[in-house]
Symmetry: C2
Subunit: 221 residues, 2 copies
Amino acid sequence: MTKKTNTELIAKEIEEKILNLEYKPGQIITECEISNKYNISRTPCRDIFQKLKSIGLIDSIPFKSNFISLLDFDIIKQSIFMRTTLEKEVIKNFVQIATPKDLIDLEYNLQLQNLLIKDQFNPEEFYKLDCEFHKIWFNTTNNLFIWEQIDKAQAQYKRFRMLDIVEVQNFEAIVEDHKLLISFIKNKDLVNIENHITSHLNSGIKRLQAKISSELSLYFK
Amino acid sequence: MTKKTNTELIAKEIEEKILNLEYKPGQIITECEISNKYNISRTPCRDIFQKLKSIGLIDSIPFKSNFISLLDFDIIKQSIFMRTTLEKEVIKNFVQIATPKDLIDLEYNLQLQNLLIKDQFNPEEFYKLDCEFHKIWFNTTNNLFIWEQIDKAQAQYKRFRMLDIVEVQNFEAIVEDHKLLISFIKNKDLVNIENHITSHLNSGIKRLQAKISSELSLYFK
DNA sequence: CAGTGGTCTAGACCACCGA
DNA sequence: CGGTGGTCTAGACCACTGG
């Protein structure tokens, strides 16, 4: 059992509500509101806001108000580019040194994804599986630190992903992508892997682009 | 003039002392010591420690003590790999779109580096110039967010760099590297750029490796 | 002016370590 | 048991916004 303080739990809860889009981008969130709601004083409340600001989920207008940060298409593009570039390089390495166990782990994760989309679909659960899937190559190539950095850089992108999943209902396409990727990895087909990673990580943009300037525009900068 | 609170200034000061190696890796640093020294209470002190922990410059043994984090060779290798990979990709882009102004800026920065090593050498000033130099391609390719992420990931690496500069006195080699790089960029010589970036960013490891297991070993994990 | 954030003090209580 | 960190409360004062 992981040890968590009350404040950490609350921070996590709020973070998840932001990532879920339960708190909408642009929505104002006050310290007062949180400290009343969870019955805590300002010090822990401040810690929470500080943390969420540091990962870019909350922005503030000094001396006025805090609000859920708007999505920034430019930052999302950069984080996708960053991730694509790193992941391609890491996976190149991975195919050279992947053990049978790694391949089995990938397949296993894929089966779980299949199960999830057939059974009771749950965006958060799916997102978690997807992360675990990609994490495998960072782990075996001994690049977990890089994975952590990517993860930290992706607070913006996560909300975008969630929009993608819930708005476009694309989970089947994602699973299909993963399936293809595994086959390329097994064949050590570097060229296809590179192309596939690029298109896989960029597919969200393609799917969502149309909606960004219309119905979702108020969530963006 | 930038507006800074007292606490932020203190945090910055301590951060710099850590990066300078004025606070040695492994050295114990207590909240008590800081709050007395700067005459502040525990809340701001805690903020400072929290910040430094979050960027990996301070580690703690729970309920016992905080100490300046040890350098971790594995993390340093990963952050160099991360940076090399991203920077190669960005610079490929840069050579396609660089304006004359960009090239002049690079040259200008190089001249300042030259001046610095001939005149009064100052490691921190040199480090800053070096950052500005590399930042140029991230800026014009519209990838400043990525540069920020790299910077954040490099708290460990920065101390390593400082060791490199002060222990090995390598500044002339670095300036020479930069000079070569500019010429490759002007010629849009992609192959040489890639190789050069890789060797440039990895040169610190080569230079320091011998000392890591001997005289500097107590700074490492 | 009230409301909010920004910063800080003073002090409390608990968990854990090591002498 | 004393020292340290880990967490939190209560409340203070200031800076700034906007009605």
